[in-house]
C-alpha cells in the first residue's frame, strides 16, 4: 500500500510539472493574443461579486443596462462613470468607446453653455476615443478610427486630423460611408486631387453612391468645391 502511495505521489508531482509547463504556454498565448484580464477591484458590489466569479462580461452588461436607463431619463452626466467602468471591465467592447466618445463630444457638448465647457467636452470625447485605441484589439478595427475622424471632421472642423484617422479607418474592413466621409475630408482639407481620386474609387466600387460620387467629381473638377 505504501509503495502504491509513493507511486501516486510521484505521478501527481510529474503531472503537476506538466500542468506548470502547459500553464506557461497558456500565459504566453494570453499575452500575445491579448487575452489577459485587468486586475479588478471595482465598481460597486454587484459588479465586484460578479467579477469574483469570472463574470466580467455580465457585470459590464448590467452596467450597460443601467446606462440605458440614465440615457432615457436624460441624466447624461451619470452615464460618464458607467462608461469608464464598462470600458475597464471589458475594454475590447468597442461600442463602449464609440458611444462614450460620441456622448461626450456631442450630447454633453450640446448641454453645456460656455465655449470653454464645449471645448472641454469635445476634447474629453476625443481623449476617450484615443484611450480605446490604446488597446491593440481595438486598433485593428475601423470603428474608433472612424469615430475619431468623424468627430474631428464634423464637430471640431479639424480636417488634417480627420483625414489622418479616416485614412486609418479605411485600412480595415469598413462600411461604404467611411470612404464617402474620407472624400469629403480630403476636400475640406484642401487635398482636391485626393478627393477626386477618392470619389472615383467610391463611384467605381459602391453602386449606391454612384450618383452622388459622379456629381461630386463633376463639381470638384469644374468649381473646385463640392461639399456645402
Amino acid at each position: 500500500m505504501r509503495r502504491k502511495g509513493y507511486r501516486y505521489l510521484i505521478s501527481i508531482v510529474v503531472l503537476f510539472v506538466g500542468v506548470h509547463l502547459v500553464q506557461v504556454q497558456i500565459d504566453y498565448r494570453k499575452k500575445i493574443e491579448n487575452l489577459e484580464s485587468n486586475l479588478l477591484l471595482m465598481p460597486g458590489q454587484i459588479a465586484g461579486s460578479l467579477v469574483l466569479g469570472g463574470f466580467k462580461g455580465l457585470a459590464a452588461d448590467l452596467l450597460w443596462l443601467n446606462m440605458e436607463e440614465y440615457w432615457h431619463k436624460g441624466q447624461h452626466y451619470k452615464i460618464l462613470p458607467l462608461l469608464e467602468a464598462i470600458a475597464w471591465l471589458q475594454p475590447s467592447y468597442i461600442l463602449v468607446w464609440t458611444v462614450g466618445g460620441w456622448h461626450m463630444a456631442y450630447n454633453i457638448y450640446a448641454e453645456v453653455k460656455t465655449p470653454e465647457e464645449k471645448q472641454y467636452w469635445y476634447q474629453q470625447g476625443i481623449e476617450f476615443l484615443k484611450k480605446g485605441l490604446a488597446y491593440p484589439f481595438n486598433a485593428n478595427k475601423y470603428d474608433i478610427y472612424f469615430e475619431l475622424g468623424w468627430t474631428y471632421y464634423h464637430k471640431g472642423k479639424d480636417y488634417p486630423n480627420a483625414v489622418k484617422y479616416l485614412e486609418k479607418a479605411v485600412k480595415y474592413p469598413h462600411p461604404e460611408y467611411v470612404d464617402d466621409v474620407l472624400a469629403h475630408a480630403y476636400e475640406k482639407n484642401g487635398q482636391i486631387d485626393k478627393a477626386i481620386k477618392q470619389w472615383e474609387f467610391v463611384r467605381d466600387n459602391y453602386v449606391s453612391f454612384f450618383d452622388i460620387a459622379t456629381r461630386m467629381i463633376h463639381d470638384l473638377k469644374t468649381k473646385g468645391k463640392a461639399t456645402p
Binding site: L9, F16, G54
Partner: protein, 254 residues
Amino acid sequence: MKKMWTIAVNTFRESMRKKTLYIILIFALIVIGASKLFSFLTAEEELKMIKDVSFSAIEFFGALIAIFASITAISTEIERRTIYTLLTKPIRRSDFVLGKFFGVSLIIFVNFILTTLFFIGLLLFKKSIPDIEVFKTLLLIFFELILIGGITLALGTFTTDAFNIICSFFLYIVGHLTSYGKEMIERTENIVVAGLADMLYTLVPNYENFNIRDKIVVGISVSWGYVGYTILYGILYTCIVLLIALYFFQKREI
C-alpha cells in the same frame, strides 16, 4: 472497463432521479431564455447580451450541477451502505472511483448539451448563426465543468459533504482569480514570496484559463493553439485530481 461503465451508467441513472439537478437545469434554461428580454436594445447590443448571459448561465449552472452531482456520488453509497455490497464483488476501488467520475461526466455532458442546444436555438431564432468562436467557448466551458466535477469528486473521498461544498465553491471563486494573482506575482520583488506564490499559482486550478467568453462576445478570435493548450491543461489537472481521489479512496477504511 465494463465494470467501470456499469458504475458510470448507474451513477448517471441515480442522479437523474434527483430533483435538485432538474431544478438547476430549469433555472439555467429560464436565465438563458430571459436574455431575449433585451430586445429594447440595438441588435448588436442584444446579441452581445444574449451571448454573455447564456455563456455565464451555461457555466454557472453547469458548475452547480457538476458540484451537486459529484458531492453525492460517493458519499451516498457510503451513507446507504451500498458500497459494502459493491466492494465485496470483484470490483477494484479504482474502477469504482473512475466509474463514478465517468457517471458524473455523463450528467455534466447531458446538461451541457441541453443548455447549449437551447442557447443555439435562441441564436438561430435571432437570425444569428453561431460561428466557430462560439463553439470554442462552449468547448472550454465543458472542460472546465468536467474539472470542477473531478475536483469535487476527489474532495468527496476524504471530506464531509458540507466541507466539500464549501471547498468546491471556494476553489471555484479562487480559480477565477488566479490570473490576477499572476499579475501580483510579477510585481513582487521578494524572491521567496514570488516562488511560493508561483507554486500556489500552479497548484490552484486556474479556471480563468477556460474563460474566453468575454473576448468572444466582442468579436475577438481565440487561436486553436490557446484552446488546445487549455484543453490539455484541463485533462492533466483532471488526471491529477483523479489520482488524488484514487489515493484517498484506496486508503479509506470501508
